[in-house]
């Protein structure tokens, strides 16, 4: 959340007074990459916790009782496609192709909403199968890991939706494409985290 604000901080003003940067890169882009580096350790710790506790629950329901691969595969595909959509939107933003930007960006936001909705439905479904947050070790580490990923998806969706709102008002000209580029980098990172979570949590369930 802090970096969202950082990303929007600074540099909005008059170019004539924008001081030079030591590296050929905008402060905000360097900052979001720094933040992404930091987030690697956040998710690494959550994934470690999940793996260390895999198979350690003293009572069920266990992963094999709960997971169905169908729905989550759909969610995974949607999130992957949204990464593709947002690079297309960025391409449009950088080239000044407003229609292209708006189309793809809207699709990206829709994907974000769909994925978040999928997760809410999934949690609700699991809860009704008897898997509350504190039911066992599996449930707590599963909900914590995927819940925090879901919170990142929600934040990213809100961020992209805000840029979409700006873009509709014509406030994202090519020279401000960086605003979208930074949000897109965050969005891709959320996607690659899911690229790890999906096989490790959902597909390897049988092994634990």
């Amino acid at each position: 959340m802090t970096t969202t604000t950082a990303a929007l901080d600074h540099h909005d003003h008059d170019d004539a007074h924008a001081h030079h940067t030591s590296l050929p890169i905008d402060n905000r882009k360097l900052a979001i990459w720094t933040f992404i580096g930091s987030e690697c350790l956040f998710f690494a710790t959550l994934i470690s916790t999940y793996l260390v506790y895999a198979g350690q629950s003293v009572k069920g329901p266990f992963p094999t009782d709960i997971f169905s691969v169908g729905l989550v595969t759909a969610g995974t595909a949607v999130l992957l496609f949204s990464s593709f959509f947002v690079v297309m939107a960025l391409d449009g933003a950088q080239k000044g192709d407003r229609k292209k930007m708006l189309t793809w960006l809207s699709l990206t936001v829709l994907c974000g909403v769909f994925f978040a909705g999928m997760q809410v439905y999934e949690f609700w479904h699991f809860y009704h199968l008897g898997l509350g947050y504190s039911t066992n070790l599996f449930s707590a580490s599963f909900y914590t890991l995927t819940g925090f990923h879901g919170a990142h998806v929600a934040l990213g969706t809100l961020w992209l939706a805000t840029i979409l709102k700006d873009a509709i008002k014509g406030r994202v000209p090519p020279k401000k494409a960086l605003n979208l580029e930074i949000a897109a980098l965050y969005w891709h990172f959320v996607d690659v985290v899911w690229i790890i979570i999906f096989p490790v949590v959902y597909l390897m369930q049988m092994r634990s």
Partner: protein, 119 residues
């Protein structure tokens, strides 16, 4: 931004190709699961049995490819400053060290590692 301006021309085509690859790799992952443990197990029991010992390794390899494609092309690391790649790589190395060390330490304590159990 200027860094990958030259790559801007072929972007859309490349992005679509990568989307197709990502989709195919995900399909492979799910197919692998279905063959080893899911609905396809009964249809191809021999294939499932021969793939099962390598299930985790293959799955991790496939997702590493997906990770690499997204980071390199969608996140522009291939076209951007080298510093950003190093930044990401260094964080990932520390992250992998932490995950690996914890799995080894806890596995060892539970007697899952090291032939002959604890020593």
């Amino acid at each position: 931004m200027a860094g990958h301006a030259d790559a801007a021309h072929s972007n859309a085509g490349k992005y679509i190709q990568i989307a197709v690859v990502l989709f195919a790799l995900t399909a492979l992952e799910v197919a692998l699961y279905e063959v080893c443990y899911g609905g396809l197990k009964t249809m191809a029991p021999g294939l499932g049995a021969s793939l099962e010992p390598w299930f985790v390794e293959v799955l991790l390899l496939l997702s590493a490819f997906k990770f690499w494609f997204v980071a390199m092309f969608y996140m522009h690391l291939k076209f951007d400053m080298k510093l950003l790649s190093w930044l990401f790589l260094f964080s990932l190395i520390i992250a992998v060290i932490v995950i690996g060390a914890l799995i080894i330490l806890f596995g060892y304590n539970r007697g899952l590692w090291w032939p002959g159990g604890k020593w």
